[in-house]
């Protein structure tokens, strides 16, 4: 009896001990889909790369789910009153994963030399930058030539990953052998990559924030089939399914499992916005009335509820409700087939067939295209679905060989970073599926977009963007479909996984396992 009591006591003591230490240690298995082409975030910025490399590389700032800047490699920062000088003070004691000390020179090299050459999206923001200097090893100063409004939003890891100067300076960046074993400053270090199977990261023991990261190791698992990914989660092989890694109809089944949590947060910065390009140059889609008719003909609520299982939000226009300077003070396109028919009659639409190019990203998108075809045929628009694979889709949209084409783009927190690029005439150029592909030209608006980007006063910017949104919603250059929401599905014992505006892309710094 005494013996039993003693063991009980010991067990209790052991449990108490682990409860105190519950926060550190452990392993996390996360699905990454598709397998990233590389992990050097300065060279490749696609989703899977950032998911993994977001633990290895860091930028100066992070953003919370309200898109407010938070310290990362910079511990503090000031912005001059005229909005032209940004001064960052860097963290103390930061080391690269190979042990070399990190300094302001690395930041200057990354932003001014490396990324200027390799990072298309950052390049378009850097044109507002006059100089980047490092007055001392702890300080970086960005001086702008115009008060570019969203400048404080460009210090996110995928937008401005800080890369090691001592490894890349003077080399051929793309072919540097170090790309295979990325060196960053982040909370996790690269350990191994078994191509086709997994990527293994281990805790950075020398991380500059005390007590972080909590996890010992992370495995990013490559599982090519969507059904197999759902099975992997069901059988406990993986702990986290990042947004979009299983088909929508599997989501309710998985989230209903015991001990499984999900969140739609962690996409505020990207704010994926789905629409159909409508070719503004030729065919029926060149007529504004036709494009408005498309908007009225579509039952977007239905698609949200059925095709997307209730995830997402029906957008009012070009700016996502998650993005700064959003307004709903615009014409709202309800599902109104009668109005659509009236508009088609008014323009004299003759039943000319319209080609619809779905996005080849899986079953959900196929069904979405079918739903749109059904809605449009209800008002008398004849649709031919044009099926292709991803590379073919890229080619057709980039070469303007379509009438209507599904797509979705990220907004990066600010209309000047992620919205205007789709609508300004200066961004019409064949060869890229991510610019003004529809060929929308509105010179009056172009001037307004340009002006709004460089207003130092936020309330003046807000007014300008309300004005822009009203006009553009009336013109319907593209048919806005849905503010996408990709729920992250995870076991509830994973804590603090999604705490920032980019979710698990940089969330593992703080994540821990409840034991």
């Amino acid at each position: 009896m005494n013996y039993l009591k003693a063991t009980t006591f010991l067990i209790a003591a052991a449990l108490a001990g682990t409860a105190l230490a519950a926060e550190t240690g452990g392993r996390l298995d996360i699905v990454v889909q598709p397998e990233p082409p590389g992990l050097m975030l300065g060279l490749v910025q696609n989703g899977p790369t950032q998911l993994v490399a977001g633990d290895i590389y860091e930028s100066l700032l992070r953003y919370n789910t309200d898109l407010e800047p938070q310290p990362s490699l910079a511990k503090s920062w000031t912005i001059s009153d005229d909005g032209l000088v940004y001064t960052f003070t860097l963290q103390d004691g930061v080391k690269w994963h190979d042990g070399t000390a990190f300094s302001a020179d690395d930041v200057v090299f990354s932003a001014d030399v490396f990324l200027r050459e390799t990072h298309a999206r950052l390049r378009s923001s850097l044109k507002y930058v006059d100089s980047i200097t490092a007055p001392d090893a702890q300080t970086v100063v960005f001086t702008l030539n115009e008060p570019f409004g969203p400048f404080i939003s460009i210090f996110e890891t995928g937008t401005m990953p800080i890369v090691p100067k001592h490894i890349y300076e003077g080399t051929d960046y793309a072919n540097n052998p170090a790309n295979a074993t990325p060196i960053g400053t982040g909370p996790f270090k690269f350990s191994a990559w078994e191509k086709g199977s997994y990527i293994h990261l281990v805790k950075n023991e020398d991380y500059y924030l005390d007590g972080l990261p909590k996890l010992d190791e992370v495995f990013y698992r490559v599982i090519p089939d969507a059904a197999a990914r759902a099975v992997a989660f069901e059988t406990g092989e993986v702990d986290v399914l990042p947004g979009g890694s299983v088909e929508n109809w599997d989501v309710p089944r998985l989230t209903a499992m015991e001990g499984v949590c999900s969140t739609g947060k962690g996409w505020e910065f990207f704010a994926p916005h789905a629409w159909m390009w409508l070719n503004n140059r030729e065919g029926p889609t060149a007529d504004k009335r036709f494009r408005q008719a498309v908007m009225y003909a579509m039952d977007r609520e239905f698609v949200r509820d059925v095709v997307w299982n209730g995830f997402g939000k029906v957008p009012t226009g070009p700016v996502s409700s998650k993005t700064n300077f959003y307004t709903d003070d615009v014409n709202i396109y309800e599902h109104d087939p009668a109005k659509a028919k009236a508009l088609l009659d008014e323009m004299g639409y003759n039943g000319e067939p319209v080609r619809l190019l779905p996005l080849p990203y899986g079953e959900t998108w196929q069904r979405w295209a079918e739903a749109v075809r059904q809605n449009l045929s209800e008002v008398g628009i004849k649709i031919e679905i044009d099926a292709t694979d991803v590379a073919g889709w890229n080619e057709k949209t980039a070469q303007w060989d379509y009438d209507m084409a599904f797509t979705y783009l990220y907004q990066y927190g600010d209309p000047a970073l992620g919205v205007s690029r789709t609508y300004v005439a200066s961004n019409i150029a064949k060869g890229s599926p991510w610019n003004n592909v529809q060929g929308y030209v509105n010179e009056g608006l172009d001037a307004k977009w340009d002006a709004a980007a460089v207003m130092a006063d936020p309330s003046a910017r807000a007014d300008a963007y309300v004005d822009i949104q009203k006009t553009i919603v009336d013109d319907v250059p593209v048919a806005w479909l849905l503010e996408l929401e990709f729920p992250t599905i995870y076991r509830c014992d994973v804590q603090d996984l999604v705490t920032t505006a980019i979710g698990i892309n940089d969330g593992l710094r703080d994540a821990w396992l409840e034991k």
């Binding site: 490749v44 910025q45 298309a120 078994e194 191509k195 089939d225 099975v231 992997a232 590379a391 610019n435």
Partner: protein, 325 residues
């Protein structure tokens, strides 16, 4: 001697065929719409002209088409499969990296299907018309008709999700750091479902073929002679019937062997098996030209190699074939 000359002639023809295949592949792959630079840039969600131009220059796509073709062919002639810019590694390394996993899977499936297929075929032919024969042929027909993809998913659902007996996907337990025998057993456990699924179809084919061929041969005169000699049933079946009935099976096995490299795309995808089929499929989606061409070429070489090997085996099984030519 004549046989050697013949094999040599076959090898020469094989090399020429391979070269023709390489050129044809080059045209085919480039005829597909899409551009690897745009795919790569597109995944970043942003691209400007400078970026696309940089990428195209790196991939060598800014060169005229005939120059690209010539570069490719001369590389192939020096056994250089080129460089995958997407993956940042030589194509040969990528293929060799994936080769063991694929060969393990396809060879296991090959052995499973051949062994069970022939054994069940012989068994069924010995019991022709009986209930056991009907059961075997029915199952063979079922496996023959079942789409591989569906069979694979069902196998995962039953043996992995419901029963929990076998791992549903992957090559080995990730992060377990097994070594020695424990690792071998771990890989074997992961191998069972994909290899069995992949082997099912050909097992059914071999079984039906063996059965039909055995029945046909067993009607022949020499079998009656053997019976008249007083030989026992099993000996007749093994030494007289089977040996004569096996040739069509060898032909088919040669066909299956040709698919050892590229024939497991679906199985590898469903079971997350890190093999060459998936490498090919993913490279195709990304228009990673060099890698696709590399995999195609190696697969073609395998097909040609096994065709020659099949011919050699014909001679061994039936010496008359060599004598006639």
């Amino acid at each position: 001697m004549a046989a050697l000359t013949q094999v040599f002639g076959r090898l020469l023809k094989a090399v020429l065929t391979l070269l023709a295949i390489a050129v044809l592949n080059f045209f085919l792959v480039h005829a597909a719409p899409g551009d690897p630079a745009v795919v790569l840039a597109g995944e970043a969600g942003a691209a400007d002209e400078q970026m696309i131009a940089q990428l195209r220059a790196r991939f060598g796509l800014d060169q005229p088409f005939h120059v690209q073709l010539w570069t490719y062919v001369s590389n192939v002639l020096t056994l250089d499969l080129g460089y995958s810019f997407r993956q940042g590694a030589p194509v040969l390394d990528l293929i060799l990296d994936r080769l063991p996993a694929t060969l393990l899977l396809t060879l296991s499936a090959f052995v499973i299907s051949l062994t069970f297929g022939i054994a069940l075929g012989v068994a069924a032919s010995a019991r022709v018309g009986k209930v056991s024969d009907s059961i075997l042929t029915t199952f063979a027909l079922l496996f023959y008709a079942t789409p591989l993809y569906w069979a694979a998913l069902m196998a995962v659902l039953v043996f992995s999700v419901q029963l929990g007996w076998l791992p549903g996907f992957g090559y080995e337990t990730v992060g377990a750091d097994y070594s020695g025998l424990a690792r071998v057993l771990d890989i074997l456990k992961h191998l069972i479902l994909p290899a069995a699924t992949l082997g099912l179809f050909f097992m059914a084919v071999y079984m039906r073929m063996t059965r039909a061929s055995m029945l046909e041969v067993s009607q022949m005169d020499f079998v009656r002679t053997a019976k008249a000699k007083g030989l026992s049933g099993p000996v007749i079946r093994r030494r007289h019937i089977l040996r004569n009935a096996i040739l069509p099976v060898v032909t088919l096995a040669g066909l299956q062997a040709g698919q050892l490299i590229g024939g497991a795309v679906l199985t590898e995808t469903v079971f997350a098996w890190p093999g060459i089929g998936r490498l090919m499929f993913e490279s195709l989606a990304a228009r990673d030209y060099n890698t696709i061409l590399g995999v195609f070429l190696v697969s073609a070489a395998m097909v040609i190699f096994f065709n020659i090997l099949t011919d050699v085996i014909y001679r061994l099984v039936d010496p008359r074939i060599g004598a006639r030519t």
